[in-house]
Assembly symmetry: C2
Homo-oligomer: 177 residues x 2
DNA sequence: GTCTATAGGCAGATAGAC
DNA sequence: GTCTATCTGCCTATAGAC
């Protein structure tokens, strides 16, 4: 059985991706996990602490994903396609990018979490730039930003029509050209 | 002096663009406008009514913007640049696209408002497709979606770095190629 | 670690006077 | 149209027992 702390993080991540971080309560978490809300406070004293743990874990995991792709996949095209597939897995559960959601909630997020968010997107863009650099693009950071923007934007839009191909079409051209 | 109803809508729109629709209360609106929250309820009985009025007014206004651009501007490039400039005006106030924000909050939004949101983005994409069609693109709807995704995504990201050029770079290529 | 109990505050919403 | 007063419910958070 997974420990409570991890189960809290997993559920909080899912709820952030679907509803937003401000849109669930410790009571929601407690009810779903099967404990009392005071137990959630034991693991994460304030909700801001939960937010920080959430983004830090997410950054750490993304680093692992990059490392795995860099190690196991040969061409930049393969790696870009793999990242796209990774985000497309969210769609079936009506999730979007957790950090994209938090970016929308940016104004009500505290400085420590903001800093982590900034780093998340910088790391992401840097990794993307590296791939486009290997593909011989003239301006890799810009193309990385374009990929990132199109990805975040299309994840925002995909739930409205309920058609996952929106993401494919929005990113069309980046992995083939 | 602007009537109270309009002042409520203006303030609610601004707060939705910065914090999100679920992140402000009737108390917030009341305090800023200088009335009591019961007066806000007089104009918009439930908060869902306010959401609907907000998106409907926004759609109506966007239609007017399209019409003005179609009438006053000659080339598709000029019109695309004008739309981009329109959204870039938000950035100085840390606003993002109101409907983009609501798209992030999609899961906690009621069916009537969802429908309006869907129509907003369809109209936007259709208008964009028309411009790209005139520019001779092979697949105008797809390019319209790419423009829209990159716009929404970059508006999400622009507040993290506080650098407005993010939007320009993310949309680079669409108006020049 | 998890529980019971509780505090203090703010949310959306309504009734009825002016 | 705007007010006062009020209801109910949920929120984050804490104290202290087991």
């Amino acid at each position: 059985m997974t420990d409570t702390r991890t189960r809290i993080l997993d559920l909080a991540e899912k709820l952030t991706q679907t509803k937003g971080f401000k849109e669930f309560s410790y009571l929601d978490l407690a009810a779903d996990i099967g404990v009392k809300s005071s137990s959630i406070h034991y693991h994460f004293k304030a909700k801001a602490d939960l937010a920080l743990a959430l983004v830090k874990r997410h950054r750490y995991r993304l680093d692992e994903v990059y490392a795995r792709f860099d190690r196991d996949l040969v061409t930049p095209q393969e790696r870009l396609r793999a990242v796209l597939a990774h985000f497309k897995e969210y769609i079936v559960d009506d999730r979007i990018c957790m950090c994209g959601m938090m970016a929308a909630e940016f104004e009500s997020i505290n400085p420590g979490v903001r800093r982590e968010l900034v780093h998340y997107f910088r790391d992401f863009q840097d990794w993307l730039a590296k791939q486009f650099s290997q593909l011989g693009h003239a301006n890799p950071p810009t193309v990385g930003l374009q990929f990132l923007s199109a990805l975040e934007g299309s994840l925002l839009l995909v739930r409205l029509e309920g058609d996952a191909s929106v993401v494919d079409h929005a990113l069309d051209g980046f992995v083939t050209r």
